[in-house]
Each structure stands twice: as structure tokens, then as C-alpha cells.
Symmetry: C2
């Protein structure tokens, strides 16, 4: 391993340098992320971050949409699953664990009664989210279990969902 | 308004019928959503729901990725913003409010110290998320304020982020 430059498609020296830079300058740990959401008619939307191609969002026809794209509930699960997966890839590389394959199945339950306006009280959001991580690797099962526990504990998006987050809103009309 | 069939691109009678169906059969309020996440090497991923085109996810080069797509933190904001926007469109239609335009700016703060492994303790996720909704409508400002308050209170994804959600994980290795 001593001379290995890349693992799981990642540049190991680059990751080390990045960690050292964050340790040297804690201000660099503070990150701000943005999304600009634009309504396209009906339930169709685009959401853009930085210079990337817009992510398209819609609702199924059964919920009044035109079903041209995933809905926000599915996008939330995409965010949870990809954040965990990035955590596996990153921390496996840092621990010298080679991954041969990695797939995650994410699912969750929403009672849409409050959102649809048919009940007044209750939790409008996900009541539970379940993740199944399928890891293909020759590493020791104990090493993969330790990797898994670390990844779940340190995942930004998993923790965003699991913890209460302050959401502030502002309305501008014209 | 009495004879209006569509508003904001939505089928008003269809929305009424949907609400009536949910009221008649509360079991239909229980929805399950899914995402299948596949690692594509490095930090590149795809996330798929139902039959829709995969959503692509990566990380910026500054964070060790190849910057081909938004990252999970941005996707989470996309989910929050599009869910709120769908709430505006739906509830505006239900209240007879015509929307001429709708854009949301969503941003949030993450300290990446725990995720990057340079600090042991702290919240790995978003500490705060801020939403600015820009609504173009001729409706009364008070009606738009009431719409806004209702939408924020009943948004499934906004509530998923604002409330603690149980996330269970399972590891399968091969």
C-alpha cells in the first residue's frame, strides 16, 4: 500500500493534503451550498447549483403531476444515499480498503395527509428512512462493519435528516 | 373562478378528486419512496427512482471529486426547495391564487470537519438552511403571506429536515 497513489478512484495524496489544509485553517471547514429552484408550470421544476445542468423535479400523475422526473421525496433519498456512498468511498480509501462495488437501497415512509390537506395534525415529513448498503469488497467483515459505523456517524446528509435543523424562510412578493 | 378547470398548470377537479379519495381511504395516505444509488468510481454516483433517468451526483474537485454534477448537499437543498415550490403551486391553486412566477433561493451551512475526519466531535450535517421564496402574483399580500405560512408548515421535505427522523441502516457484504 505504501506506494499506492489512487484507491477507489480517489487521489490519496490529494485527500491527505486536503485534510491537512482543513486542519491548518479551520475557516475552510465552513462550507455554504446553494440551490436555485425555478417553477416550470404544473409541478415541474428545475433546481440548479453552481454551473451544473439543472436537476429536474416533478410529481407522479397520481399526485397531480406529469411524471417527467423524480419528486422531492425521492431526491431527498438520493441525497441521503449518495452522501453515505461518498462516505464509504472516502473512508475506505483512507483506511486502505479497496471497494469492488457499492450499491445502496434507500426507502422511506411519508403520510401525505397533512400535505394534501385532508388532515390538520401530524408529521408532514418522512417518519422513517431505511438504508441497505451492499458492499462488494475482499476486506475483513469487521473492517467493513467499522467502516459502515463510521460512515453513518459522520455523514452530513444522514445527520441533516436525523437531527433537527433550523430552516428559516423569507417571502418576497412582486 | 367557478368554471375554471385549470390553475397554475394543475387540474383543479383532479386535485379535488384526489383529496376526496385520500379522505375516503386513509390507507392511501401512506406512501413509500425509494432510491437506488450506484457507485460509478471516485465520487461519481447515479441515483434512480422508478423508471426515471438517473440523477447524477459528484463532488467538487476541491473536495476530491471530478465535479461532473451537483453534490449530495446541493441535492438536499434541491429537495427542500422543490418541495416548498410544489406546495406553493398546489395550495395557491386550491385557494384560487394565480401564480405568474415562482423562484426559490435555498442555501445552508455545513462544517465539514467531522466528515473530512479532521475533528472528532460536532454536527456533521447542515447547521442551518435558509429559504427565500420569490413569488410573482397579483394576489393580496396577506393572501400570499397566509399561503407561505401554510406551505412551510405542511411541506414534507422541509419537515423532514426540521424534525429528527429515524434513519436505520443495514450492511450487506459479499
Amino acid at each position: 500500500m505504501a506506494n499506492q497513489l489512487r484507491l477507489n478512484g480517489l487521489d490519496l495524496q490529494g485527500l491527505k493534503d486536503f485534510g491537512a489544509a482543513l486542519q491548518a485553517d479551520p475557516e475552510r471547514r465552513k462550507t455554504v451550498w446553494r440551490s436555485r429552484v425555478r417553477w416550470q408550470g404544473g409541478f415541474q421544476h428545475t433546481a440548479e447549483s453552481r454551473e451544473h445542468a439543472p436537476v429536474r423535479v416533478d410529481e407522479p400523475t397520481a399526485l397531480g403531476g406529469s411524471d417527467t422526473a423524480p419528486n422531492p421525496a425521492e431526491l431527498l433519498l438520493d441525497a441521503v444515499g449518495t452522501c453515505l456512498s461518498i462516505g464509504y468511498v472516502l473512508n475506505a480509501a483512507a483506511r486502505g480498503i479497496e471497494l469492488k462495488g457499492l450499491e445502496l437501497d434507500v426507502e422511506g415512509d411519508i403520510d401525505i395527509g397533512v400535505f394534501a390537506g385532508v388532515v390538520e395534525e401530524g408529521n408532514p415529513g418522512y417518519s422513517q428512512i431505511r438504508v441497505r448498503a451492499n458492499i462488494d469488497s475482499d476486506a475483513d467483515p469487521e473492517a467493513l462493519r467499522a467502516l459502515h459505523d463510521h460512515v453513518v456517524r459522520t455523514s452530513p446528509i444522514c445527520n441533516t435528516v436525523a437531527r433537527p435543523v433550523v430552516v428559516t424562510t423569507e417571502l418576497a412578493t412582486r
